[in-house]
């Protein structure tokens, strides 16, 4: 299987270059695939808006900005030459010379290959339907609205634009994974913590262990640690589970929720098996942040107590009445349907935002092409008080071998509002 994937991958990259030269349609197709990999549509499309016509509001610490129209029309990027396009995507500089807000992840795109840029350009010029929709100005008050400080930011924090170069002797699959994750995939935009000055603390695996080590809450969800930690990272996941998860939004033991749902629906499910394998293998190559990291040890004390009718542990009764039907008293859930809570890394991050959020608001597993069923966890905010939510969250975070910091009712109150 491994040999096959590598062979297919090699074939894909060499074939695409050849095909692109001789067949403009193939170049557009390749660009479409790469635009999926970059998930351009996610930010450049407003809710219920036309694809790539922009207008999606994004909250930033200094005010609301709106994504731009990147369709090949007059109000979009129809007049962009390849050089203009490249300058915007990889350098962060618009056609008029002003610096883009770094909501556009050009520091990540800086490592996209020239060939892939050509394909993306071909796609946005010939494969996307032009939409005439004027761009919306940012709602940022002066003096913060001035753009020149952004240029300084760019000069300080954006890396030099250079084609991605695999490390010498690096496994081809691994380097393809690095290219996708660090480059077009711009995973770090959400999953890497940011400094006070808002730049990602690391842009690649070689920069520092901060890379993909999880972020502060974004729109009410934590983008989790993707490194090798067992407690809150991907230490307990194997490559196959990761591929299954990215392709279908679900694995035998987990289900996507929060902000990652859109990434699966708009981007990841379109990736080839070879590219998903590359992404998974690369993520699995990132070592744990915590030097004392150790695999989850299941502890049956709580499960045994519940089995024997003892719900005296704080939060246990709330868990039995609201959660146990699907996630079970032993916290193992049901394979492929209801995620396991025991040992689940998204529940054990220091910051409990995601867990509190899903208990309050519920979540729906999105339909994907190869897995059309949508499972919904209903909301519980209408029936559980802040204290009850805190109790049940603490119960989940300290049962079956799970370990995480305590949550207070006041933490729940903040998120409920």
């Amino acid at each position: 299987m491994k040999a096959f994937v590598i062979a297919t991958l090699a074939l894909f990259s060499s074939f695409s270059a050849v095909a692109a030269d001789s067949d403009p349609q193939a170049l557009v197709k390749q660009g479409e695939y790469l635009a999926r990999a970059g998930d351009c549509v996610a930010c450049h499309t407003a809710k219920d808006g036309k694809p790539f016509a922009g207008g999606l509001a994004m909250e930033t610490p200094i005010g609301t900005i709106y994504s731009t129209n990147i369709t090949p029309g007059k109000s979009g990027i129809g007049s962009y030459s390849f050089e203009d396009f490249d300058k915007a995507v990889r350098h962060g500089v618009a056609q008029n010379g002003s610096t883009l807000y770094p909501a556009m992840p050009y520091p990540s795109y800086a490592r996209v290959n020239q060939d892939d840029m050509q394909a993306l350009y071909a796609y946005f010029m010939k494969g996307v339907k032009p939409v005439e929709q004027a761009n919306q100005e940012a709602d940022i008050p002066w003096p913060l609205s001035m753009r020149w400080p952004l240029a300084i930011w760019r000069w300080l924090f954006a890396p030099a634009v250079a084609d991605f170069k695999p490390q010498a002797g690096q496994d081809a699959v691994l380097s393809r994974g690095a290219y996708l994750v660090e480059g077009l995939g711009h995973c770090g935009a959400c999953h890497t913590p940011r400094a006070l000055t808002m730049q990602e603390k690391a842009l690649s695996a070689s920069d520092s262990p901060a890379f993909l080590s999880g972020s502060a809450p974004l729109e009410g969800w934590i983008a989790k640690n993707l490194r090798g930690d067992h407690k809150d990272g991907l230490g307990s996941w194997n490559e196959e589970q990761l591929v299954q998860f990215l392709k279908t939004g679900r694995s035998d033991r987990s289900a996507v929720f929060g902000g990652m749902s859109d990434v699966i629906v708009h981007s990841m499910q379109y990736m080839s098996e070879a590219d998903l394998t590359a992404i998974a293998r690369y993520l699995k190559s990132l070592p744990a942040v915590d030097p004392a990291d150790a695999p989850h040890q299941y502890d049956s004390t709580v499960a045994d107590a519940l089995w024997n009718g003892d719900d005296s542990k704080r939060g246990a009764a709330v868990y039995i009445d609201n959660c146990a039907a699907c996630h079970r008293t032993d916290g193992h859930g049901y394979t492929r349907v209801f995620p396991a809570l025991a040992g689940n890394p998204v529940l054990q991050s220091n910051d409990p935002t995601s867990l509190i959020h899903i208990v309050l608001k519920g979540g729906t597993l999105p339909a994907t092409h190869t897995a059309p069923s949508t499972f919904t966890m209903p909301a519980f905010d209408w029936r559980l008080s802040d204290q009850e939510v805190a109790d049940v969250v603490n119960f989940i975070r300290t049962s079956w071998g799970n370990k995480a910091a305590e949550v207070k009712a006041s933490d729940v109150k903040v998120l409920r509002e």
Partner: protein, 594 residues
């Protein structure tokens, strides 16, 4: 004036099991399909939200998922000498409403059929002689054999994620000692999931049935014994025996339904549209009356809308399929006096008997646990598995403990002689609520000249159209069979050695009671067959009279089965869809020459 919609290749009336199966099959064939559902959109989310759905008052008592009889109902009478009156409170049967139809609120008992029941008249005449079938009993052959349907039974079970145990697969014995049914016909494959676990009450039944010399087996159940992914990629959760199946939306995604098992695969299709709140009032015919041009429906705002289509599938509940045919002038209405006409004839039901056994407090049956399709059954008296000769009646019954979960309001049952209220009732309820076993004989019901459906001459629905009139009563054969089954099942109950027994069967002189629920399994009225003089549909469920109208559902059964009907309904729908895909679309016209 109606608003006229853009013409589609196929319009489907009703989105329950038959509508969903047809939608999947016809979109696979590349057709543009619109499904019209009279009720609202419904799905596991939000209609099955936990814990709100665990609410007996809202669902069972106030009938949340059932037909709204303030808008449309049936009138009922016992005989043509009586005046029919509207049924103003659902009781004896429970037609569904909304997306999923009765397929959303069913229990999940998922049988095939006993092969002899598909050729009921031929079989009885061959074994017992022509005179054995009583005068006025109009049982018929379906016109299709078990062997022809087998691949479709198999596929439907894989779509439903059915749990069970085969007896033989391709002639090889596989089910002995594992819960297989020795009377079951041969299969091409085992069930997609192993049998569910058995409740303690079912284990008691199994033990007692063995002692009496019967052959107990595990009920085939469309409640999952584990997580499952069907051929459409639709996923199911595992049943946790919560006991809220019949009348409820399953919050565990573990009871098969059109919503869980088929709709996810239809939703992304560009050639499919599901239009809820679209109440179809008639099928439109061209001037020749031999071809349908589409249907007319009333939308949520009360507007009349015409949906033109090349192919019309009537996939509504049994009663509504028959009524739509009558309202649209498809097929000749049945006249019981002359015994002529086809639409409305052979209306049949089911013939249940129940025994409850009450135990001391050391027998913990925990009746609040349950699953709608789960249990242990015997087929020793089902179909023609025993010699009917000496007993003088037609038909058989499977018998079972099918502990589907006793809910607190309607689930209380006390030994005979207990007062219906007061402190003695309270004491008995506390003593027996979790110490009792209920078992049923789920009997076949035959069709008769005097039991039929037509349009009511007086009463109309909210849209001004005549209600369907049901003329129905129990016949001598039914009472005889019921009493026989009660006696046989009584032996099992006796062998359990309970403290007290309640026997709820039919007595000579009993009439049809519209208040007392037994099953929702209404059959016939638009039956399939081999002769256009005695059937409304040919063996492919195609109208003999209007060739582009197909009518899948239990309305096509010429008589009621011993088993629950859904498995046969699903298989017949797949069978019909295959005929449409492989024969009709290539050459539209009658698939059987009359």
């Amino acid at each position: 004036m109606s608003t006229v919609m853009k013409k589609v290749d196929a319009v489907i009336v009703g989105f329950g099991w038959t509508g969903a199966i047809m939608a999947k099959e016809l979109t696979e064939a590349g057709l543009n399909v619109v499904a019209l559902e009279r009720g609202p959109m419904q799905d596991t989310y939000p209609d099955g939200n936990y814990p709100q759905v665990i609410d007996e008052l809202t669902y069972s008592v106030r009938k949340k998922l059932f037909q709204d009889v303030s808008k449309e109902t049936v009138t009922i009478r016992h005989s043509i000498k009586d005046v029919a009156l509207p049924n103003r409170q659902l009781g004896v049967f429970l037609p569904g409403n909304g997306v999923g139809g009765a397929g959303l609120h069913w229990s999940g008992v998922h049988f095939r059929v006993d092969p002899t029941e598909l050729r009921m008249r031929s079989h009885y005449e061959e074994r017992y002689g022509k005179n054995f079938i009583p005068e006025g009993m109009t049982i018929q052959d379906f016109g299709v054999s078990y062997e022809e349907l087998e691949p479709f039974f198999d596929y439907a079970e894989k779509v439903f994620g059915t749990s069970g145990q085969a007896w033989t697969v391709n002639g090889q014995l596989v089910g002995q000692g594992k819960g297989g049914n020795p009377y079951a016909p041969d299969r091409s494959d085992n069930f997609p999931l192993v049998s569910q676990k058995n409740t303690y009450s079912a284990q008691l039944f199994q033990k007692a049935a063995n002692e009496v010399g019967y052959k107990p087996y595990n009920l085939p159940s469309a409640n999952t014994s584990g997580p499952y992914t069907n051929p459409y990629g639709a996923q199911m959760g595992p049943c946790n025996f919560c006991g809220f199946c019949s009348g409820y939306v399953c919050y565990m995604y573990s009871k098969a339904s059109p919503n869980v098992n088929i709709l996810p695969a239809l939703k992304p299709l560009p050639n499919f549209e599901l239009r809820p709140d679209a109440h179809v009032i008639r099928v439109n015919l061209d001037s020749s009356k031999s071809k349908a041009t589409g249907v007319t429906y009333i939308d949520a705002l009360g507007r009349e809308i015409e949906q033109p289509a090349d192919l019309v599938i009537l996939g509504a509940f049994q009663l509504h399929n028959v009524r739509l045919m009558l309202l649209s002038g498809i097929g000749k209405p049945y006249d019981p006096v002359t015994n002529e006409g086809v639409v409305g004839r052979n209306f049949a039901y089911q013939n249940m008997g129940t025994i409850k056994a009450y135990f001391d407090k050391d027998v913990h049956t925990n009746n609040f646990i349950g699953a709608g399709g789960n249990g242990v059954a015997i087929d020793d008296f089902n179909a023609d598995n025993f010699d009917h000769g000496p007993h003088g009646f037609v038909g058989g019954s499977p018998m079972w403990v099918n502990q589907a979960g006793s809910r607190p309001i309607a689930g209380t049952s006390n030994p005979p002689g207990t007062p219906a209220w007061g402190s003695a009732w309270k004491r008995a309820t506390a003593d027996y609520y979790t110490h009792q076993v209920s078992m049923d004989s789920h009997g076949a019901h035959q069709s008769y000249r005097c039991n039929y459906l037509d349009l009511d001459p007086v009463y109309r629905d909210a849209y001004g159209q005549p209600l369907l009139r049901m003329t129905f009563d129990w016949q001598e054969n039914d009472i005889k069979m019921n009493r026989f089954m009660m006696e046989k099942m009584g032996k099992i109950a006796d062998a359990m050695n309970p403290k007290a027994i309640a026997r709820i069967g039919k007595q000579v002189g009993d009439h049809f009671n519209t208040a007392s629920y037994q099953t929702t399994h209404l059959n016939g009225g638009a039956i399939m067959g081999t002769n256009p003089k005695t059937s409304a549909l040919n063996r492919y469920l195609q109208s003999w009279d209007v060739h582009n109208v197909f009518v899948p559902g239990a309305s096509a059964f010429p008589q009621g089965l011993g088993y629950n009907p859904t498995g046969l309904v699903a298989a017949l729908t797949y069978w019909s869809a295959r005929a449409i895909r492989e024969q009709y679309l290539k050459n539209p016209g009658p698939l059987v020459q009359a």
